[in-house]
Point group: D2
Amino acid sequence: MTDLGYVGLGVMGSAITRRLLDAGHSVTVWNRTREKAEPLLAAGAQWADSPREVAERSEIVFTMVTNTEAVKAVTEGPDRILAGLGDGKVYVDMSTASPANTRALAEAVDAVGAQMLDAPVSGTAITVEQGKASVMVGGDGDAFERVKPVLEAIAPKVFHVGENGAAVTMKIAINLSLAVQMLAFSEGLLLAEKSGIPREDAVEVMLASVIASPMVAYRGPLVLGHPDEAWFDCHMMQKDMNLALELGRELEVPLPTTAVTNELLTAANAMGIGDKDFAVLFDVLASMAGVKTEVLA
Amino acid sequence: MTDLGYVGLGVMGSAITRRLLDAGHSVTVWNRTREKAEPLLAAGAQWADSPREVAERSEIVFTMVTNTEAVKAVTEGPDRILAGLGDGKVYVDMSTASPANTRALAEAVDAVGAQMLDAPVSGTAITVEQGKASVMVGGDGDAFERVKPVLEAIAPKVFHVGENGAAVTMKIAINLSLAVQMLAFSEGLLLAEKSGIPREDAVEVMLASVIASPMVAYRGPLVLGHPDEAWFDCHMMQKDMNLALELGRELEVPLPTTAVTNELLTAANAMGIGDKDFAVLFDVLASMAGVKTEVLA
Amino acid sequence: MTDLGYVGLGVMGSAITRRLLDAGHSVTVWNRTREKAEPLLAAGAQWADSPREVAERSEIVFTMVTNTEAVKAVTEGPDRILAGLGDGKVYVDMSTASPANTRALAEAVDAVGAQMLDAPVSGTAITVEQGKASVMVGGDGDAFERVKPVLEAIAPKVFHVGENGAAVTMKIAINLSLAVQMLAFSEGLLLAEKSGIPREDAVEVMLASVIASPMVAYRGPLVLGHPDEAWFDCHMMQKDMNLALELGRELEVPLPTTAVTNELLTAANAMGIGDKDFAVLFDVLASMAGVKTEVLA
Amino acid sequence: MTDLGYVGLGVMGSAITRRLLDAGHSVTVWNRTREKAEPLLAAGAQWADSPREVAERSEIVFTMVTNTEAVKAVTEGPDRILAGLGDGKVYVDMSTASPANTRALAEAVDAVGAQMLDAPVSGTAITVEQGKASVMVGGDGDAFERVKPVLEAIAPKVFHVGENGAAVTMKIAINLSLAVQMLAFSEGLLLAEKSGIPREDAVEVMLASVIASPMVAYRGPLVLGHPDEAWFDCHMMQKDMNLALELGRELEVPLPTTAVTNELLTAANAMGIGDKDFAVLFDVLASMAGVKTEVLA
């Protein structure tokens, strides 16, 4: 089995690391707060004292962090990943970050003799656990072939979509639909509710219909009650929408539903519910429709 | 088995009638053009010379026609359905029409001693054939229980959602997401394509992701080539969007993504491709993004 | 001077009738509630007991009512205007109503030997009083030439824009900008306010800028306090937006900013402030931005 | 009279410098290409070889450049403005740039003993020439009082709107309405045109109506033919829309009409007409409405 490294142990990074351990790989990990690593260390992972050390001790090193700035924070600088990479290693960034930064980083990785892939996941921590997620990969074909068996331990569907940056672009292109689908679902749901159909009945019927994407199936029920911790909050979702809108301007693609939906995420922030799962787009629209909800109570 | 009647043998009505015949029911049919009935007559259905005659010869009579005006055209008047209904019969309208008209019609049906249900289908002719569609039902609970076994021959999932008009409202509430999801999908797809990922590759990856509702799974591939005959053209889709927007104003529910998407359906009509499946929302957006497509060539 | 008739004495109809009286014309009036006519009767107008009688006693008869249904209510039926028209008379409808209805009505007027013009006013009761409004006219050129001198007593700028229905179409085309300009103004104003600039200061600066249309100049100050009676409430404004959106679908013109703004008018209605001037679009947006306003307190 | 300096002699900067010269001030100028300065040198301005030299020779130094990056390019570095400022001088930036950068720059100016004001102009080169523009000013009250008489030579209306950054914020808040008003105007115009009213007639009527802001009055006629050089092209307009949208996210103000209109500016870029005045929003919408225009021919 391969010596792997994993930097960034949020909910998603932890779920992925666990699958890698379960598949028999040796995994060295680092996280900004060691506490989050404990369950994985108990399951057999090894701790390193810096991202650099993770890179030094691994053949393939993964990162999964919040945004472009966080990617820079774990890669650039004396104790960071770039300083630990070298000939024959592969660096795989699974974060959703700016494609332009991904391409620049790939050049920096290349300059130290290693190779980089961008490999964001489509799915949630739950779909990763269930083995139902998919991974998109951007970068050199040889590096892809080397890493592919490892990625298949994470998710059954692995797609090589193009050069460096192509996979994060693909991820951004998919993620804009998350928010738009949630808002369109909410529009329909409020029509049903204000016509007299109980909210829970309407949700049940809608989840049995042709609009029930896995996203709608996961998040639809949140309009009946939110978990204690958000899966993917409005700030995170808006970060991805902003990446999409910037890319749209750069590549000259108008994004009308993305643009409109993003303004309602702004409203969610303004209403003080930006730290809830972006399913609160329902509550924002409900407030515009004069309907009181628990989230905004 | 029950004596059934079916009025309106378009693609959808025909698929449903066939399932009723396959389930062993006796079905009397009528359609504006008899030609479309021929395959069903060959399969055992019986022809009637008017909607009235269908109603007279059936215990339960179904209609599935294009819009509110068409519902009126087959129900009101000397040779129409209302004239053939009577004590103990049930009239089931499966069309997507105005909820207000449905409620008015239910009263007229009640006045002649029969009962009415609105029972639109969520799905396409293909999902009906495959036994994967669902049916929403509005109206009296007793009438629902009587008709339920017959509806289950059409689709495995049958929901009683409320009083008369509730089911068409539910259908409209679902259908707005069809168009919005298609446009959001197109926004992402064009981002991917203009970033250099081949369209067919991007479609494949997107169909393996969490945004792939059955709707996206059916229609996504249409961006690579359209069938000879549209499944549900822009005019039909816009009719449903208009019903949603009217209902939104009546019930005071703002519908931002529905409203924006509807304007792009108008653009499709203006560009001369309104008789294509509404998946041409992709082509409208592509034209705004300076991308040439076959549909608009 | 000419024998004129005026039916519909709301704020606008009263202001116009007063200008006609001031110009020395004889004016016979009728209104659904006689009370509103009193100040005009005191100023020299004569009362008639029905729209028909107004038409019988006038060479040129004007109407200015709320919507398409109200136009029908004063023109069709035994005691209505059509019954009082005849050879050589001209009927001038100044309402903002459906262009299709206007064209149908023009044919009915023609059938009784009279001629019809549609002649909506661009402006408010205040601009009419100040002699700064403009009138658009649709219909036959000869009828236009006959009525023109009378219209010039109402407003200095009189435009013949085309056949019957052209002027109401033009009015609708103008009115959609009222609501959109108000919403865009509100977006900027809230940016300024949340950045720390006092609302009244920001309004003053904006009213001195290139975006200050007469509409913005009238309505901008309403964000600082509303009059007791709305000039043009959200329901009225939405009626015009709906006419625009219907026309857009019929003529195949996408109307993206109109469509989005209309959904915020729906929100105003849902929030219970639909009977206020449509300048409350500011308050709707403020509520989405987490800013409390007096109107929604 | 005062020793003034002016850096950035585009169409607007040149018009302003000319007014300053006409008012009897001594003006030292610098521009990236000397050629553009020639007419002003002929009119009495003096040339300096660097922004630093301009600052050294002036009591009050003005800049008017394209965007935030260009502001940095003329202020930061050895031969730039900051290096030439000192005790008692005032630096006035008339550019529309990021408020955050303006605040940071004001601190740097303060650190060298000088004072900074942000002072963007509302108007065009033409309104400046006609003495009809207005100036908004952000920054310290004393500095404002010192510069006010000079600003009044540029424009009759001078507003002190708040601290550093307040004036550019105000400018951005105003500018979003430019694009939105143009698009709403285009929506109405296309309705009129497709209903059969000639475009030039419809423009004339609309310019006589309550929606005719100075902006609409200037730009409306462009739909009948564009000047050789754009006044303010789509790229410039989109830069300001992006500043507004960023500010909206930062200050938590949803900007629905801004967001939608910005996507149509993207479409203009994609259609290859981004270097035309942003009045081509009309042509973008016309293309969506199936109407051919000269600009897109």
